[in-house]
């Protein structure tokens, strides 16, 4: 299975069950969408980045490269959120930054920063899973721990095996087109039409192969028995429990700190009932 941005190495995080790492994304997203604040998402981002560096043994340069794509998205989200922010009645609509047609209020800028930090924190929790989990292990864990039907799990893995064959197949289709004298063509529509001309035969041969593999899987009675054995066993261990506990302690400490310091947090899933004029 294609590894993507997964980083091959051995570490505490790599040895955790994939399901444990995936599950963490859910409470993180929930907590952060409920809180509009700058410190909380910043602390969550720090938690995940430190975990990746120390427990995941991801080199800082590699981590920086993985974070790079966030930059354009973050900048776009920052200025548009600040620009379209609806000032509340209670807040002074003081213009903090005047860029001619674009006037940003102080409240708008603070809100935009908190939203960008929120997305960054969710993004880093996602990265923790992605950088330390081999995609095949994730499917194996889903089959072994979450009772994903075997035919479905192995079916997806089998289909993923076709991907490396795509480039040879594409070369074949190109050659076949040339033999039959399909014009390479010019003009504005030539490129998309050529793309579709390659995509359809590629998909067709993929679907044909999928049905052959399905017959092979059925012939070997995959998934017919209730109990089956596995070449590699994944399980939940003490370190999974320890990591989940550490996360829970961290989340509780951060949130109680927030309440104790009286930071401007609100239960605010949809941005709150902003008073509109």
């Amino acid at each position: 299975m294609s590894q993507g941005i997964y980083m091959e190495t051995s570490s505490y995080l790599h040895r955790l069950n994939p399901v444990t790492k995936f599950v963490l994304v859910i409470p993180t997203t929930l907590i952060l969408t409920l809180v509009v604040d700058i410190a909380v998402p910043a602390l969550f981002s720090l938690f995940f980045l430190l975990a990746l560096l120390v427990l995941g043994r991801i080199p800082p340069s590699r981590l920086a490269r993985a974070l790079l794509p966030f930059l354009p998205a973050g900048i776009g989200l920052l200025w548009t959120t600040a620009a379209f922010y609806q000032t509340r009645m209670a807040e002074a609509p003081a213009v903090a930054l005047d860029l001619g047609p674009l006037q940003l209020t102080r409240a708008g800028i603070i809100y935009a920063v908190s939203i960008v930090l929120r997305v960054l924190a969710i993004y880093t929790s996602s990265l923790l899973f992605l950088l330390t989990t081999h995609p095949t292990d994730f499917i194996l864990a889903l089959v072994q721990q979450c009772r994903l039907p075997v035919r479905l799990g192995y079916g997806v893995m089998a289909a993923y095996r076709f991907v490396p064959l795509l480039s040879t197949e594409l070369a074949q289709i190109r050659a076949a087109h040339r033999v039959r004298g399909v014009p390479e063509g010019g003009g504005a529509l030539a490129a998309p039409r050529r793309l579709l001309g390659y995509a359809i035969p590629l998909l067709a041969s993929g679907i044909r192969r999928a049905q052959q593999v399905a017959v092979a899987m059925d012939a070997r009675a995959l998934g017919a028995q209730r109990r089956r054995t596995f070449y590699r066993h994944l399980r939940f261990s003490g370190s999974d429990l320890a990591f989940l506990l550490a996360y829970a302690v961290f989340a509780v400490v951060v949130l109680s700190l927030l309440v104790w310091m009286g930071l401007p947090a609100r239960l605010d899933p949809f941005g709150g009932p902003a008073m509109r004029r």
Binding site: S2, Y6, V119, A210, A274
Partner: protein, 194 residues
């Protein structure tokens, strides 16, 4: 009706998985296209482009026409996309919302309506659900000007209807004459009954 309640065959699973993975791979360069649009033209245009992420929830039910096809197609596509785009594990949650919404739409039609307007409707409904359940809470749209909220949501729905609904129809219909889908309802409905 009886066909709908039968368990999935292995061939159906494999074909949905293959379509899902193919779509997930198309989504990878699409992510960069989306980012570029957001940077150059702004979020309203990007939300239109982002509507294409609904295609996994439309094309597989159009081919297989069984309960679960929309959810499964979208989730497998998200799974294939996940290791290759920087968004990470969160795309599975996005896929769950988008695929789930399309699934609900097809369920409401009794898995019987698959003409172009219905495909576009399913995609637009998925785009609406994604805006309300994912983009609103995460990007905090609730405090933006009402005009921006409406514009973003409508662009997402329009992009979904045209790019995902129309794209699903275009690709799947082009696959039918190749004969590889002969075992599936999409090709069977075109053959005269003997």
């Amino acid at each position: 009706m009886r066909r709908l309640l039968q368990p999935w065959t292995t061939a159906e699973i494999l074909v949905v998985a293959t379509m899902g993975i193919a779509i997930g791979l198309i989504w990878v360069p699409w992510t960069w296209f989306y980012q570029a649009t957001a940077a150059v033209l702004g979020p309203w245009a990007a939300h239109f482009v982002g509507g294409f992420w609904l295609i996994g929830g439309v094309i597989t039910p159009y081919i297989v026409r069984k309960p679960g096809a929309a959810l499964l197609g979208e989730l497998i596509a998200a799974l294939a996309e996940m290791p290759l785009t920087p968004w990470g594990a969160i795309v599975l949650i996005a896929g769950l919302i988008e695929g789930g919404a399309c699934e609900l739409f097809f369920l409401a039609t009794g898995y019987r309506r698959f003409s172009l307007p219905w495909l576009m409707g399913a995609a637009a409904f998925g785009g609406l659900a994604f805006s309300l359940l994912y983009l609103y809470p995460i990007q905090g749209w609730g405090r933006l000007a009402i005009e921006a909220q409406v514009l973003y949501t409508l662009m997402r729905m329009a992009g979904a209807a045209i790019l995902a609904g129309g794209g699903a129809k275009l690709i799947a219909d082009a696959l039918v004459p190749t004969g590889v889908l002969d075992a599936f309802p999409i090709a069977r409905e075109r053959r005269p009954e003997i």
